[in-house]
Structure formats: structure tokens, C-alpha cells
């Protein structure tokens, strides 16, 4: 039973690191994100950054597992902090930390399950130029019934240096390892990432297959 509950819960929590964009885009900016991860999760998230140093937000995640027999919904609040930024002539590096608190409610075969409080802390570092993108993220999740660590790395390249008013194209390879004996090996994904800045805001679209043959897709708006 514990494993049946832990699996979907982990999948829910995996949804957050699938988005390795910067958790703070710009000061006085709002970020809204929608994600679809295979047949197992859907997520909506909104962050507001009063300063480039931190952002605050909330999200709602839904997990479906066991062909719909298991569903878990998590509501959470989270804060992100920019610990350090390196601005170089044609590159930028960042270190972020984040923490959050959530409430998870499960439903198994039509019956309501228990409510879990989930805490999360993590750190993310990235380095990018106009042609190269790399990032690494480690986060820990703790609830009364489970604790685990998720490590995610991304590396990608842009076939051309994008213009500010143009469309940026990136090809991103992702690898992820999870402790806790839930997922064996490293799960990979190959993503096509497109984004563009417009007068009303910015839009980001990302999609690609995972090594399990599932679709991973995400869209994000900044305004």
C-alpha cells in the first residue's frame, strides 16, 4: 500500500523539476505555467516576483495512476530565492534555492484517502549562453510516509543565437535520478523548447518524448 501511494506522490513531485526554467524571470513579473506529463500528471502554477531576488507562488497538481484508479491532488505554496548570479559578457550563471509546503489528498478506487503534508527544499544552478544551456537541480521531499531526493540535469544547445524579438529554439536533453527505490535507473527525455518575447509578455512552449515513450509538454507565460 505504501508503495502504491508513494509512486503517484513521487510522480507528482517529479512534475516540478521537469520545468527547469529559471524560477524567477524578472522583477515585478508574473509567471503562469501549465504542464502535461504523459498520462500521469497535470499541473498549473503561478509565481509573482516582487524582486529579481525572490518569487512567491502557488500551484495545483493532479496525478493519475494505475489507469485512473489512483488520483492525488496537491495544493502548495512555494518561495524561490536567487542566491547568486554571475553576469558575464555573453553568459549568465545562477544559483537558486527554494522551499515549499503542500497538502496532498489521495483517492483510491473511488475512496478518499488520507491527507499528507509535504515539505520540499531544493537548490538549482544553471549556466547559459546564447547557444549553450546547462542546469542541475537537486530537491528533497519529505512527508510523514516518504522522503526522497530527485536530481535533474539538463544540457542543450541552440541551433542559432536567438534575437530578442525572434523565436528562440533549443534542443534539450534531460536526465533524472530518484532515490527511494521508486524509479530504477535514469529517466531521460529529449525536448524541443521554443520561446519568444512579445510586447504583452513572453511565451514558452516545450515538448518531447521521454525514454518511456510518453509525451512531456509544458507552456509558460511571463507578463
Amino acid at each position: 500500500m505504501l508503495k502504491r501511494l508513494t509512486l503517484p506522490c513521487l510522480a507528482v513531485l517529479l512534475a516540478a523539476p521537469a520545468v527547469s526554467a529559471k524560477p524567477i524571470a524578472f522583477a515585478d513579473g508574473t509567471t503562469a505555467m501549465l504542464e502535461y506529463g504523459g498520462d500521469t500528471m497535470q499541473e498549473a502554477q503561478v509565481f509573482y516576483a516582487p524582486s529579481v531576488r525572490y518569487s512567491l507562488g502557488a500551484g495545483q497538481l493532479r496525478l493519475d495512476a494505475e489507469e485512473g484508479a489512483f488520483t492525488r491532488n496537491i495544493s502548495y505554496v512555494r518561495t524561490n530565492v536567487l542566491l547568486k548570479r554571475w553576469n558575464l559578457p555573453r553568459a549568465q550563471g545562477n544559483v537558486f534555492a527554494f522551499s515549499g509546503l503542500g497538502r496532498a489528498q489521495s483517492r483510491q478506487s473511488g475512496s478518499d484517502g488520507g491527507i499528507d503534508t509535504v515539505g520540499q527544499v531544493g537548490v538549482q544552478a544553471d549556466y547559459e549562453t546564447l547557444r549553450i544551456y546547462t542546469s542541475g537541480k537537486v530537491e528533497w521531499h519529505h512527508a510523514e510516509s516518504f522522503t526522497h531526493r530527485i536530481s535533474t540535469v539538463q544540457a542543450g544547445f541552440a541551433p542559432y543565437p536567438h534575437r530578442y524579438d525572434g523565436i528562440a529554439t533549443w534542443l534539450i536533453a534531460q536526465g533524472r535520478q530518484t532515490t527511494g527505490g521508486v524509479y530504477d535507473g535514469i529517466e531521460g527525455a529529449l525536448l524541443l523548447r521554443l520561446f519568444a518575447a512579445r510586447r504583452w509578455g513572453s511565451v514558452w512552449v516545450e515538448a518531447g518524448p521521454t525514454t518511456d515513450g510518453k509525451l512531456q509538454a509544458m507552456t509558460m507565460f511571463n507578463f
Binding site: K22, F26, D28, S51, Q92, E128, D165, A168, A197
Partner: protein, 108 residues
């Protein structure tokens, strides 16, 4: 006759002053690599009453803003704004070049 001469001189002086006034500000900025994040710069610069358009060139690490006639923004304010936006300003210069011409010169 004296009034006409005075008016003419004032018009000439105003014209010369405007002709010599900067039309744009160009800033060299480090860390400018992502359009998704650099949008914050444009958003902040457009809040100044003096701003008449913003141009960003990621490849050259350049941010330029057009100036409305007779208006300007102090260097310290610009530096502070871009620093708060998360970037490092390496240089600020003013010119009589129009923003459209700067954009044209830095576009492929």
C-alpha cells in the same frame, strides 16, 4: 519688429538645443542571454516618462532606449534599474542617433 526678432531667435535657439540633444541612450549589459528574462528590462525602462521605445540586442549585449524631446534619464537611475532587473551595466552612452537607426544597425 523687435518682437518678431525675439521670437525668431528663441525659435532658432530651441531648434539648435533640440538638434544637439541626445535622441537615444545605449547601454552595454552583461548577462543578457535570454529573451524570456530580458523582457523585464524593457518593461522597467518603458515606465520612464522619457522613454520613447526600447531595443534589445542579445548578441551584442546591448540595450537602447529612445528619448522623448527634451527628456532624459540619469545614468545612476538607469544603472539602478538594470541592476535591480538582475543585470550588470558596463557602460552608458548617449547619442543623437534615432532608436530606429540603432535597431537597424544591429539587425541582420
Amino acid at each position: 519688429m523687435l518682437k518678431i526678432l525675439t521670437a525668431a531667435l528663441l525659435t532658432l535657439a530651441t531648434t539648435l538645443a533640440v538638434a544637439g540633444a541626445p535622441q537615444s541612450i545605449t547601454m552595454k549589459v552583461d548577462g543578457l542571454v535570454c529573451a524570456f528574462c530580458a523582457q523585464g528590462i524593457e518593461k522597467k525602462l518603458k515606465e520612464f516618462p522619457a522613454t520613447d521605445g526600447v531595443f534589445v540586442n542579445l548578441e551584442h549585449g546591448l540595450v537602447a532606449m529612445g528619448l522623448k524631446a527634451g527628456l532624459d534619464v540619469p545614468d545612476a537611475t538607469l544603472t539602478s534599474t538594470l541592476t535591480e532587473a538582475g543585470y550588470t551595466v558596463k557602460g552608458i552612452s548617449r547619442s543623437e542617433q534615432l532608436l530606429a537607426d540603432i535597431a537597424k544597425a544591429h539587425s541582420p
